[in-house]
C-alpha cells in the first residue's frame, strides 16, 4: 500500500519561471502557465499526463483550464505563502489514496508589477478588519512585524540579531544572478538603512518581486518509468497547522503554535530527527521569522536562535545552511513565497543549486502564511528513506 510519506510520493518535476524579479511582460495567470510548462518539461511530461491540480491565488479551475488539463482532483487551499507546502502534502495524500496519479502545483504572482493581479480588498467586518486594521496593522510590514519586539525582549536579544539574519542570507545571494538583492551588506548598513517599521529597516523586510514556480508530483512507483525518474525528490514527511487570523491573539507572541505543530508532525511522519537535517528553508518574509522557526522547530533552544545565526551556523560553512538562495529577504518574494522555498530544497537535493551544498540528503522546508496564521512543513530527501 502506498503511503503519503516515507518516500512513497515524489516530486518528479520542479521549476521556477524562466525569469523572476521584474516581469511586467507577464500576467499572474501567465506566470502560473510559464512555471507549469517549465516544470512539466523538467519532468519530461505534458499537460495530458496531469490529472490533479492545486494552486492558490487564481481558482484552481482557471489554471487547469488555461493549461488544457481536465482534472479529476482539485485543491485550492489558500493559507497565504505556505499554501504550496500544504498542496504538496494534500497531493501526496490524494496520490496515495488513488484520487490522483500525477499532480501539478502552481504558483505565480505579480507582486511588483501587479499585472493581471486582483485588487486588494481588506474586509472591515472581519475580526482583523475591526480589531487590527483600524490601528494600521494591515500591510505585511505593519502587522507581521508587531510581535518581534516581544520576541526579542523575552529573550534578551537585540535588533543586531535581526541584522545578522539579513547579513548571513545576503552572502548566499551574492553569487546568484536570479537574486533581487545581491550586494554584500554589513550589520551597520542593515541597522542604518531606511526605517520601515521600527525595529525593522528596509533590508530586514523581504523584496517585492514577480515570478512563479511549479511542481509535479506522483508516486515513487510511477516515477520509475518516467523520464525524470532518476532525479526524483522523495517526500519523507509533512505537517500543517493554523493558529488564527489575528496577530494580536497569538497564544505566545514569542512563539508560533502553528510552527510548532506543523514541524512536529513533519518530523514525526518522516521519522527523522534534527541532526539528520542537512539544509533548512525557513520562510523569511521578515528577519524575525527564521529566529522564531529555528526555536519553534527545535533546531535550537529557546533564546538561542539569535546567537546561532550571529555565530555563522546558518551561513556558508555553517552546520545548518539556511535559506541558501538568500530567501525572501534577498532572493525573491512574490507575495506567497513558499513555492520558492520548496524549489530551492529540490535544487539542493538534485545537486542543481547555485550555492550547492556538499552531501545534502535531507532538506526541511518550513512555511508560514497570512502572517502568523498558518504553517506548513515538508521533509524532502534525495533518498527514499
Amino acid at each position: 500500500m502506498t503511503s503519503m510519506h516515507q518516500g512513497d510520493i515524489v516530486i518528479i518535476g520542479a521549476s521556477e519561471t524562466t525569469q523572476i524579479g521584474v516581469r511586467p511582460d507577464t500576467s499572474v495567470l501567465g506566470l502560473h502557465a510559464e512555471a507549469a510548462r517549465n516544470a512539466l518539461a523538467d519532468a519530461g511530461l505534458t499537460a495530458r499526463d496531469i490529472d490533479g491540480v492545486a494552486t492558490a491565488g487564481p481558482l484552481t479551475l482557471e489554471v487547469s483550464h488555461h493549461l488544457g488539463i481536465q482534472p479529476r482532483w482539485l485543491d485550492g487551499t489558500l493559507v497565504g505563502g505556505c499554501s504550496f507546502l500544504l498542496h504538496v502534502r494534500h497531493a501526496a495524500a490524494a496520490i496515495a489514496a488513488g484520487a490522483a496519479d500525477v499532480v501539478l502545483v502552481t504558483h505565480g504572482e505579480s507582486g511588483r508589477s501587479r499585472i493581471g493581479s486582483p485588487p486588494r480588498s481588506p474586509d472591515p467586518a472581519s475580526a482583523a478588519g475591526q480589531f487590527e486594521h483600524v490601528y494600521g496593522a494591515q500591510a505585511p510590514y505593519s502587522t507581521f512585524t508587531v510581535p518581534a519586539m516581544a520576541f526579542l525582549h523575552q529573550r534578551g536579544l537585540t535588533r543586531e540579531h535581526l541584522a545578522h539574519v539579513v547579513v548571513a542570507q545576503r552572502t548566499w545571494a551574492a553569487n546568484n544572478s536570479r537574486a533581487f538583492r545581491r550586494t554584500p551588506i554589513t550589520i551597520e548598513e542593515v541597522l542604518d538603512g531606511p526605517p520601515i517599521a521600527y525595529p525593522f529597516t528596509r533590508d530586514m523586510c523581504c523584496v517585492v518581486t514577480d515570478g512563479g514556480g511549479a511542481l509535479v508530483l506522483t508516486s515513487a512507483e510511477r516515477a520509475r518509468d518516467m523520464p525524470g525518474g532518476d532525479r526524483a525528490v522523495f517526500l519523507l514527511g509533512s505537517g500543517e497547522s493554523a493558529e488564527g487570523p489575528l496577530v494580536s491573539q497569538m497564544a505566545d507572541l514569542g512563539s508560533s503554535l502553528a510552527f510548532r505543530n506543523s514541524s512536529r508532525e513533519a518530523f514525526r511522519t518522516a521519522g527523522v530527527v534534527h541532526s539528520d537535517v542537512d539544509h533548512l528553508m525557513a520562510y523569511d518574509a521578515f528577519a524575525h521569522l527564521p529566529l522564531y522557526m529555528l526555536e519553534d522547530l527545535g533546531f535550537v533552544g529557546r533564546g538561542e536562535s539569535g546567537d546561532f545565526v550571529a555565530d555563522g551556523n546558518t551561513a556558508k560553512g555553517g552546520r545548518l545552511p539556511m535559506n541558501t538562495t538568500g530567501g525572501g529577504l534577498s532572493y525573491t518574494h512574490t507575495g506567497m513565497y513558499g513555492m520558492f522555498a520548496i524549489q530551492e530544497a529540490v535544487r539542493q537535493l538534485r545537486g542543481d543549486a547555485v550555492e550547492q551544498l556538499p552531501a545534502v540528503e535531507i532538506s526541511f522546508v518550513q512555511g508560514v502564511g497570512l502572517y502568523f496564521a498558518a504553517a506548513g512543513s515538508l521533509v524532502l530527501s534525495n533518498r527514499r528513506g
Partner: protein
C-alpha cells in the same frame, strides 16, 4: 488620527457601542472567570455560552510595538504611528495605537503601564492607549 473605520457585526456591536460612550467592554466567561477577546457569544477556551459583557478598568501594559514610518492611506503617510500590542489588566491582549507619546523607541518602554483613551474617527470611537501620567 485618520484611518479606516470598522464595520461592526452583531457579535461585536456591544464592544463598539461601549467605545461610543467611552467604555472598554470585554466579555467574561462565567465558568472560567476569565475575560476573552475578540468578542464572540461563547468562550473560546471552554466553549461555554455563559458569558457576559463587562466594562474593564482600561489599565494595560505594553507588550510589543512597531513604529510604522510608512502608514498607508487613509492614514496620514507623513506621520509615523505606533502600532502596539497591549495586555489588559484583566488578561486579554489587544492591538491598538499609543497616543500622546513621541513615536520613538526611547519613549516606548516594554512593560510600561498604559491607560485607555478614546479617539473619534468618522462615525466611530476607537479605544487607544496612552502612558500613565507618572511614567510619561
Amino acid at each position: 488620527m485618520t484611518g479606516p473605520s470598522p464595520t461592526p457585526v452583531p457579535d461585536t456591536l456591544p464592544y463598539w457601542d461601549g467605545a461610543g460612550v467611552e467604555e472598554l467592554r470585554i466579555q467574561l466567561c462565567l465558568p472560567c472567570r476569565t475575560h476573552y477577546f475578540y468578542p464572540r457569544p461563547f468562550c473560546p477556551r471552554c466553549g461555554s455560552a455563559e458569558v457576559q459583557w463587562t466594562t474593564v478598568s482600561g489599565r494595560a501594559h505594553l507588550v510589543s510595538y512597531i513604529i510604522n514610518y510608512r502608514p498607508l492611506p487613509p492614514f496620514d503617510p507623513t506621520t509615523p504611528i505606533v502600532i502596539a500590542l497591549v495586555q489588559l489588566a484583566e488578561g486579554p491582549r489587544m492591538m491598538t495605537t499609543i497616543v500622546d507619546v513621541d513615536p520613538t523607541p526611547e519613549s516606548l518602554r516594554l512593560d510600561m503601564p498604559l491607560e485607555v483613551r478614546f479617539l473619534q474617527r468618522a462615525a466611530f470611537t476607537l479605544p487607544v492607549f496612552t502612558p500613565l501620567p507618572e511614567t510619561r
